[in-house]
């Protein structure tokens, strides 16, 4: 008798619930992580590697399904098929595609890319997945033995319970924080067709950036968020000359909560801080922005503050009256709440995954990592940062024709004496 293995299913974590509801006809929240090797990718070996690691990641090789009251994720029966990469990164995932398989595994020349629907995991969980995939690929291709450290998981064992937990429920505080916040300034331009996602990547030397950061005594994320605010300020000054019409510039910075709590979940476990400058008060010099951001981030980025924000989000999810509301009504309400409170509170999202560390043996086979974040639904740009082997890769994807933010951002860095090399998916 043939034994049929039951497909494992998981409830969506607290942060993931919003993404299926918030999708629109032209937008789904997708991000991409890429690893570039020194040699061309063999698709057959890559497919085998995906098959090898599939069972180790029962929360990532999944499809989204809808129940009566909530969405859930379910392991796919088949291994995700590797596909050649197209010219545009983070293309919209149709909902029908998400319901078949919520992850895309792509290859192009020396590069392996994985695109994730954000309900599955956050950047850190995704990084573990791609590191393990790259390690398994290298093992299959070159017969090397990669140690299970620095985020490379042992694929011969089953997934641990704590890797699949919803850490929001575990670590949420008791007192919820207020959600009230003012709207932020967002620049805009000529909307592009959803099939085109111009991508601009700036490659910088970490040593250059660190030198600048040490001058101000701030972290790389704080420094780059300040550059971004300064760039957006220049756009706002050109587009909104009247002071009374100006809105604050707010930078949405996702925070990896694993740094605050002993969680090893591979699901979403991120919150955010939103440093801001109120441009109605007048022009901000760069030094002022850096100082202000440094203090704002330090003030907001505390364990207690994070737990109270988590409590706010978890409170609604646990409300018995809300839980019994049918999914289609929840979708409408969640979308409305997301549109009213979600994206309007920030000018842009900058997600910094930090410096990638790998087992030493992998370093000689790997050239670089890239991290690409699709812009939020109504925001014109998405910005993501990752660094590896002394280089910092800052990628911008935009939904408008004009690359004004990218230009303002990178030219600001150039004026500060930082060397920037530009790459793009356009020629």
């Amino acid at each position: 008798m043939k034994i049929v293995r039951r497909q494992r299913w998981l409830k969506l974590d607290n942060a993931a619930k919003i993404f299926p509801a918030a999708r629109t006809r032209s937008w789904t929240n997708v991000f991409r992580l890429s690893v570039t090797l020194t040699e061309e990718i063999d698709p057959e070996i890559l497919q085998k590697s995906v098959q090898d690691i599939k069972k180790r990641f029962p929360s990532i090789c999944v499809r989204l399904s809808n129940g009566m009251f909530w969405y859930y994720i379910e392991e796919t029966k088949d291994t995700p098929t590797v596909q050649p990469e197209g010219p545009h990164a983070c293309m919209k995932m149709e909902f029908s595609e998400i319901k078949k398989c919520s992850v895309r595994i792509l290859y192009y020349k020396n590069r392996i890319s994985v695109e994730f629907f954000h309900s599955l995991t956050d950047g850190n969980g995704a990084l573990v997945f791609i590191k393990t995939l790259a390690a398994t690929y290298l093992e299959n291709r070159y017969g090397i033995d990669v140690p299970h450290s620095d985020g490379v998981l042992d694929i011969s064992v089953r997934a641990k319970g704590e890797e699949l937990e919803d850490s929001f429920l575990k670590y949420a505080g008791k007192i919820p924080a207020s959600r009230r916040d003012t709207d932020a300034y967002m620049h805009w331009g000529t909307p592009l067709d959803e099939r085109f996602t111009p991508l601009v990547t700036g490659v910088l030397d970490i040593s250059d950036i660190k030198k600048e950061c040490s001058k101000y005594g701030v972290s790389v994320t704080t420094y780059l968020a300040s550059v971004m605010a300064y760039a957006i300020q220049s756009i706002q000054e050109a587009e909104v000359p009247k002071r009374k019409h100006k809105k604050p510039i707010k930078i949405f910075l996702p925070v990896n909560l694993r740094n605050f709590y002993p969680s090893s979940t591979l699901r979403n476990f991120i919150l955010f801080v939103i440093p801001a400058i109120e441009t109605k008060y007048g022009h901000f010099e760069f030094d002022e922005i850096v100082k202000s951001f440094h203090h704002q981030i330090a003030f907001k980025l505390t364990e207690k503050n994070m737990s109270s924000i988590m409590a706010t989000n978890v409170k609604d999810e646990l409300n018995p009256a809300l839980r019994v509301v049918p999914l289609f009504i929840k979708n409408i309400v969640m979308k409305a709440v997301y549109n009213l409170t979600g994206e309007r509170k920030s000018s842009i999202t900058i997600s910094n995954l930090g410096n990638v560390k790998l087992p030493e043996i992998m370093d000689e086979y790997i050239e670089r990592f890239d991290f690409i974040l699709t812009p939020q639904c109504t925001q014109p740009n998405g910005c993501s940062i990752i660094s590896y082997k002394g280089k910092l890769y800052i990628s911008f994807v935009r939904k408008i024709k004009e690359p004004k933010l990218e230009q303002a951002f990178f030219t600001t860095l150039v004026k500060m004496g930082i060397h920037v090399k530009i790459e793009s998916n356009r020629r």
Partner: protein, 233 residues
């Protein structure tokens, strides 16, 4: 290595134009080399296979010919055309409108509309001739003429003068309001023997108000930008 003379950034070897400011890269020492491993595949537009217009017209002619033949055979059993004339002339009008949409639309939208209204007028004339209703000149043609002039005017604004969309919608609102008045007047004049207007004042006032608001929005670029951002889908 090449640098953008405008932005000051270094550009990857495969880039022809600076992705930040579109300034062309001119470096005599390092000419553009496409083979220099671009990091993303080239965009290849997907061309859809299209059915030719001639084929489409032929298929449509066959589709329309079948009910016409059936009606003719059924109606000719009494050795003269009676009810089938209405069906045949209506199908002929529909076919003419489809043909004009497929053939004339590309050349001129105005001409297409004139052609369509001509076909509808012929249908009305035929129905009047058959039914001897006495409503053609006093009601149907003036109303059709009003509708024709309105759509032609709006199309002229949009396609020939290339006015902005909000301007076109605002004028369309004004014209629609006027059309309601014309329709109201013609109904009262023909069927109630009265020279007055009644209900049409409400749509006239509402549509004039909508048109005016749209003109105000159109003339205020800041307001327009804000609204475009708020209502972007």
């Amino acid at each position: 290595m090449s640098y953008c003379v405008n932005c000051g950034v270094e550009l990857a070897e495969y880039i022809k134009k600076c992705p930040l400011c579109s300034t062309e890269v001119i470096n005599p020492n390092q000419p553009y080399d496409f083979a220099n491993t671009p990091p993303y595949p080239e965009y290849e537009p997907i061309t859809k296979q299209r059915v030719s217009i001639k084929t489409m017209l032929g298929i449509l002619a066959v589709i329309f010919a079948v009910p016409i033949a059936v009606c003719l055979v059924a109606d000719l059993s009494d050795s003269m055309l009676t009810w089938s004339g209405y069906i045949i002339s209506s199908l002929f009008t529909i076919y003419t409108i489809i043909v004009s949409a497929l053939v004339i639309h590309r050349r001129s939208v105005l001409l297409e509309q004139i052609f369509d209204y001509g076909a509808i007028s012929l249908l009305l004339i035929y129905i009047e001739y058959q039914s001897k209703g006495g409503w053609l000149l006093s009601f149907a043609l003036p109303l059709l003429g009003g509708i024709a002039l309105s759509t032609l005017f709006v199309t002229f604004l949009a396609k020939v003068l290339n006015k902005r969309i909000l301007t076109v919608i605002s004028f369309a609102s004004f014209v629609l309001g006027a059309l309601c008045v014309l329709c109201d007047f013609l109904i009262k004049f023909n069927f109630y023997n009265s020279i007055s207007i009644g209900w049409s004042l409400y749509p006239l006032i509402s549509l004039t108000a909508i048109g005016t608001v749209l003109i105000v929005i159109d003339s205020n670029s800041y307001l327009k930008r804000r609204l475009a951002k708020k209502f972007f889908i």
